[in-house]
Amino acid sequence: MILSSIIQRIVLATVESGGLAQPETEPVISSDVVVATHHWWAGFILYLPLISLILCGLCAAMKVKSKLPAWITTVCLLGSFVLSLLLYFDYGGSPELIPLLSWINLADPGGNFSGLSANFTFYIDSLSLLWIMFVTGLGTLITFYASEYMESDLGKGYTRFFAGVSVFLFAMVALVLADNLLMLYLGWEGVGFASYWLIGYYYQRPAAVAAAKKAFIMNRIGDLGLALAIYLIWTTFGTIQYDELMDVIQSGSWKESYDGWTIDAIPWFLMLAAFGKSAQIPLYVWLPDAMEGPTPVSALIHAATMVTAGIYLVARTYEFFLLSPESLHVVAWVGGVTALLAATIGLAQHDIKRIMAYSTVSQLGYMFLGLGVLSTYGAAYHVFTHAFFKAVLFLTCGAIMHGFAGQLDLRKLSGLIRIPGWRITSIAMLIGCLALAGFPLTSGYFSKDAILAEAFITQGPGFEALGWMAIFTAFLTAYYTFRVWFRVCAGKVEYEPGDEHHGDDDHGHHSEAFHPHAPRFAMNFVMAVIAIGALAASVPYFMDTKADEALAGGWVADMVHDSTAQGGLPGLDRHGQSMGDIVEHGHAGHQGEGDHAHPTLFGMDVHTAMYVISGVVGGLGLLLAAWLHLFRRQDADRLKAFLQRHWWIAWLPRAMEHKWYVDEIYQGLIRAPLWIASHLMYAFDRFLIDGLLVDGIARIPRMVARWFQPLHNGIVQSYAVTMAGGVALIALLMILFLQFWKIGGGG
């Protein structure tokens, strides 16, 4: 009976769970959200990675030693990508709900609370479509790349790796397509877990294990923020489903029982979550360490997709930030400072993968800056372009690592472009570097401009300074990016192999006879494709928008426009004027011929000015890098020696090299005190609670017994005296009692 009812429920839930997801007491569904059960096949975007995971599990169980897992995963992910594209082309322009399975549904018959429902349902709008396409697309490509990259682990961890990738894609899809915050949370923690899995892939290396652990725990702190934000949102708005949330916020019905502090708290917690996942101050330290994982993982998870989940979250929940605008200022400042800080650290590193990692942190900072200065579009566009160019950078790093037995030190590699077989790698890397440096007309150039310009347009505390800081960061970015490229790919041919064996003996060679192991088809193909993608990522900027002609930014802006993030879109009417009141945004004047003049910079329109400034700055960085690292490499050494010689400046490179001692500060301020506290607590537990309290109380009876023991001395008279005395005592006590309380005679 129970079994059949369970099966019945599952089937029902699968087939028609739209009904489950919608309690009857729900507020009016906003007209433009449709339940699209005819898109049921979209579920396979989620299921295919899962199927891949299960098949990989089978492979592991059957001890498959071929590349089968890689093909399975690639095919499944390709399927997801194709389905995402289909979904995009079939997307009708208004957000859709695609119910899959029911998950948590609480309704209170007493009507004391509004019910809590969180189901496996997709919420498809343009924002999620944008994300899902590049996630699955890059996922497919990088998996294909990894099929070659990971081949040295065939029969050992190969299957495990692809299973991990499948898990990641599964979680990421859940995160992006979720229709409620709880499912998003599932994906959120899921990607964290996948990241843990893959960073710790080389589980026998203590550094990898530690890095994995660090990543998971740091992410958990962020997750804590998300969890608290979910609680707050639910208690304040009574729902955690996006569509209902939008309705509630816009209708203002939540204000009836609002008591005045939650609105301001929600964005802070969301921020904490986003900063954790997207490696911003103060939670960024895990990302550089995460480079202990295999490079495709770094490319996919720690550059292109997962780390942008924070941006996605903020974009997705932008309405909450708009309700409390101060929070956006914080977002902007944290983003800007992180960008600068990470860039300075990047300057001083020698490990190219780490440089890329810090550059990722830095670029993520840009994205948050964009979010903070009300340019969700800029942020999203930068996410989009960054996904490509950073992926290609990491993949080329991976190729180098793969070929040079784990060598990543830029001082020990040079002139790669001249080594046969490494041309594609070098060119791909160049493209990536150009885009990252914001070289004019590359994709990074446009996306970064969209953010930088907005910093000068939007009014906020110190936003202008922030803008200049970001421009300075752009200069640093260009410098350290090309430092890598000029060192590694240009110059004369020189290399030393690394000492890494991928756990394999036939691979690394320490002898003179070491030959770099050039990438073959799969890797080259993927690098080429993504490099082209990185170039082509500037195309959407010039595409026509269908929404609003005032809207600059083309296709990506279009995608953002239809989503929950539209509040941060420049030049657009925000639904509900109430919100406009609290947002001090310069663009308010954009659309009308009102009092507001266009903000200007050096007498030009800000956007135009920014094209020039960032182009110049990027070029300067590039030139500096070329000088110090291509043409006169000895000058770089001299500069370094100079810096280190003078005490008043010597701290700077050292601090930069040691990542501003942030890890050490955390260690000293948080971990060590907690560790000591834990030991104290353990001692407290053993000696005070267990020893003194529990055992002590248990000892009392024995102690008291010892007082009475002398009475049992074996002498008859003594017994008799005690007996008589005891009787007398009790009688006395009784009399006293009776006298004292004046309770007389009989009952």
Partner: protein, 529 residues
Amino acid sequence: MIWGWILLLLPIAGGLVVVGSSARAAKSIALLTTLATFGASIAAAIEFDVWGTGDFGLVSSIPWLPEVGINLSIGADSVAMMLVLLTTLLMPLAVLGSWTAVGERLKEYYGWLLLIESAMIGVFLARDLVFFYICFEFTLVPMYFLIAIYGGSGRARACVKFFLYTFTGSLIALVGFLFVAWSYAETTGSWSFQIATLCEYASESLTLREQVWVLTALVIGFAVKIPLFPVHTWLPLAHTEAPTAGSVILAGVLLKLGTYGIFRFVLPMTPEAVVEWAPVLGILAIIGILYAGLICWVQTDVKKLVAYSSVSHLGFCVLGLFALNPMGLQGAVLYMINHGLSTGALFFLVGMMYERYHTRDMNAIGGLAKRMPVWAFFMVFFVLASVGLPGLNGFVSEFLCLIGTFAAGDSGSYPGVMGPWFAAFAALGMVIAAMYLLIMVGKIVFGSLKEPATDDHHGLPADLSAREITVLVPLAVLCVLLGVQPWIAMDAMVGSVNETLAAYPEIVKDAMQQVADAGSSVLSGGVNP
């Protein structure tokens, strides 16, 4: 209905057969019995036609001591039924898990296992207070012997502490129970120990002061069992010394007797006192979560770590119970089940490791993933379930407990007496849990291989045998199932939960009103506002 009695008596009967049979057959008979009991519980669950409602099924009653209204009265609501299912599921696994670990005095061992199964089922099926108390207490005996005979080197101290501590606690609870029963007798003129009757009576007729006393007595009794800070210190000791199956049962079911007791007695009996004291208990639970979590961090004994983690985890459960809203309560009940599954499995895994290496010292062992990949997989899996990774079971219950606590603020849509601060501090436990469990995994599962020299593997393969995998797979499957489709359990329990909570909204509102009138906070209100 007959199924209840079958469930109760089948394990005892099997135990008698085991004791009467030869030592060689003991294992098989025990396994068959536990499997049969599991089958019977499934049958009972199918027969059980009140899922989702607040009613009792499998109801049956035999008069025992009519003078004072004591009956052998059994029956289960859906929450109890689920816990029965958990018990009967864990028992065959416990038997399988002890297959090679226990080598001597087999008949006794399996006899005790079967006896404790009956006692645990009895606790959940009891509808009579005295019968409940008997079973509740009786669980101590088999566990005492399991630790005392089959335990580790420090077992003598551990089992005595375990026994006396919990025995003392439950005696205090007994006095509370008797007080309620007497009060009932005085009011109505006849004695009754029917739980439902007493709950109804107590909630309506006891004064606040009396309720507070009853609450104190009951909570002392149950808190020791849960265990709640600061009466938790017996648990790490008992867990460390208990044999694997003992730990599994202890963590899987016995600890739940405490939370079940709170669910079954404290909440319905003393609602007004609960509303007044829930913040205090909530704070204790939170202290437990954080304190035990941090202590886990510095453990080197894996089993002790998992034991302290139980203290930490059950704090969430208690928090959910005293959130006094459907989210929290459903979360708490789910937590009971989920913690049984995942922590039970963790103890199995630690036991499997111990059986091979004869040590639980994290510093002596490392990188076992290389030697035992399958074991490592399960270890990581259950650690994640325990950490509360969404998609696995632990998450749902933890989330519900916390959101319940969070929403229980005076500003929430469901009035309650805790609130955001409670939830925020408790949620820190999520981070701490990740910290200590992953550190543990990082040490023993990952890293470079480090094995203590041992010459005795009990003839076990390097990695898990098919039998051991069989033990773990059902738990893993349930972890996923309850993580992805938790509504199976939630829909089933919703009636019981709402029944339990029926009286609360009014009381909470009144209390809020009073506090607002007095202009003081709930906490400072105390007993005598």
